[in-house]
Amino acid sequence: MPPIIFYLLTLATFAAIYGTLVIGLNIQWGYAGILDFMYIAFVAVGGYVTSLLMMPPATPGMGETYILGLNWPFIPAIIAGGLCASLLALLVGLVSLNRLRSDYFAIVTVAAGLILWTIAGNDTPLVNGWDGISGIPQPFANALNLDINSYGFFFLGLCLVILILVYIFAERLYRSPFGRALRCVREDEMVAQGLGKNVFVLRMKAFVIGAFIAGIGGALLVTYVDAFNPSAWTSGETFFLWAALLLGGSANNRGAMLGALLVPVLFAEATRFLPTFNSSPQLVDAIRYIAIGILLLLTIRFRPQGIIAEPRFRVPRRLFHRIGTNLPVAVAANSTRPTIVAEEEKTDGK
């Protein structure tokens, strides 16, 4: 396989994985308005759990130490990874989601993410500390027995299938009354309560669902790159995903996927070609973070809705006609029911 094809294949795979991740963040932020700054921790939990379940038991004295190591097949392992990420979200949510307003909750998530990160790095017996785990089995590799090139295409296909499933799931959720209730909570918590919505439960559900998708995406990410350590999930990574979502378009899953392609994939790749300076090897990394920060600020200032704005709800035409014709025409004819005329006919929005 020519290197350029291999390179593009890699980019496409990362784009599909990051697309999945950003859709999960979109369910938390775009749908329910939850400020989650520990999103990458859910990704990491999914990645670690899936890998550790698939890996063989750690051999004492062979360098790596880690828990589990159960030789599980990929499918139960990835589901367990997603569920563990959800469980973590549930715990964080139970502690703070009902007590704290959104910005204070955000601080809790930053702290929770850092605590997990520090534990993963320092508690070596758990996930082999800062060195991380390596030699993670590739999904279905034994069963398929493909050469490395064909396997690359297979893995891209796997990621695309999961991306499409997650996209369809997220779209259905958005259009459902459940998604509408989430957006009601996002828009105004007090109105939602006044309309009988249990704000805590709704936000908790969105938080847990988003974390599950993060865990799934994390499982794909970690099994793809084959090795994982805490430097791959610093809290800065969370903001790459946030930048992707806000630039692409909050509350719009296509926007989320576009953002995933633009920020963590293309932007990160483009900055890879910046010259490195031997005098200060951290410079390019630092510039990358600064650039992401500037991008976030510019997006929020000049195009808060993102490149692709949230879709506007329209009643499906077929349904509308069926219902529209059933409407009692009595509104005008029935004199007992006063018709209220708004004082201004035009809206100022158009």
């Binding site: 459902s176 459940f178 109105v191 309560q193 704000v199 004082e343």
Partner: protein, 278 residues
């Protein structure tokens, strides 16, 4: 009254039974000795009143009398320090706001709050309580029961939008509406929930006289046709006089009088506290 007419055809005992039933049933909201302090300020200080079922009751009083705090206490947005609130025979004083709303006590806000980035139609569709599709699984798989309910809500919402003359604006974002249109939308939204008691916090603030007249027509219609009871906090006394059978006056966190506007004009305490010499 239909119940009085039917009494002639029932035994005396049943009639008595019915009379006591009616008496207990006729009070929808019973607020007793409500107290809430903020720091040293007793915002609501032993406030007691009742709202009769099927009535349009006004709640008036000078600024800072504790009317809005009382509204927040009744709807559960603020916890009371002490006192009891019986709604439809149930003690709601320690319930969270969404539970109170589900029982049929819904409110509007003094400053309109709309779901800005949702369309006018969606603002109404989001309103009904306990929608089947608001459960995660039922919403995701949308079985026929959920779809039927959605159609029903859609039909009711479109009808309400026509009644409130917001039909043409149904696909507009609620955040783009004018002030008066927001008032209409907010009222339509709470009517959509089919409440037993609507607590309107200054529904006529910033509304022009023509629209205010139509709004009060609509409130009367809702009361008569759908049997919705209203508790209205309002400063515009001519509207209160026109609309409300009973008016409650609050001052310094307490209820100081209750009666028709005409009675209140004769009440020296009310005149001193609020109405003033004319």
């Amino acid at each position: 009254m239909a119940s009085e007419a039917s009494m002639h055809f029932t035994s005396a005992q049943t009639a008595r039974q019915q009379a006591t039933d009616n008496q207990s049933r006729s009070i929808l909201l019973d607020v007793r000795d409500l107290v809430r302090t903020f720091g040293g300020l007793r915002a609501v200080d032993g406030c007691s009143f009742t709202v009769a079922r099927g009535s349009i009751t006004g709640l008036i009083g000078p600024n800072g009398a504790g009317k809005s705090t009382a509204a927040n206490l009744i709807t559960g947005f603020i916890r009371a320090d002490s006192g009891s609130i019986l709604f439809d025979g149930r003690d709601i004083v320690s319930m969270p706001p969404h539970r109170i709303a589900q029982l049929g006590l819904t409110r509007t806000f003094q400053i309109t709050r709309e779901l800005e980035h949702m369309t006018v139609l969606e603002n109404l569709l989001a309103a009904p309580h306990n929608q089947l599709g608001e459960s995660f699984w039922l919403g995701l798989f949308a079985p026929p029961a959920v779809r039927r309910q959605e159609e029903e809500y859609l039909q009711r919402a479109l009808q309400l939008l026509r009644d409130f003359d917001l039909y043409a604006l149904r696909d507009e974002y609620a955040g783009n509406l004018s002030g008066g249109q927001r008032r209409l939308l907010e009222l339509a939204r709470v009517v959509m929930t089919q409440p037993k008691l609507l607590l309107l916090d200054e529904p006529f603030a910033g509304v022009n006289p023509v629209l205010a007249g139509r709004l009060s027509d609509y409130i009367e219609t809702l009361c008569q046709e759908q049997g919705i009871t209203f508790l209205i906090i309002e400063h515009n006394l001519s509207i209160v006089e026109r609309l409300c059978n009973t008016v409650i006056v609050m001052a310094l966190g307490r209820t100081i009088a209750e009666g028709t506007m005409a009675e209140l004009r004769e009440n020296q305490a009310v005149v001193d506290a609020y109405l003033g010499e004319s």
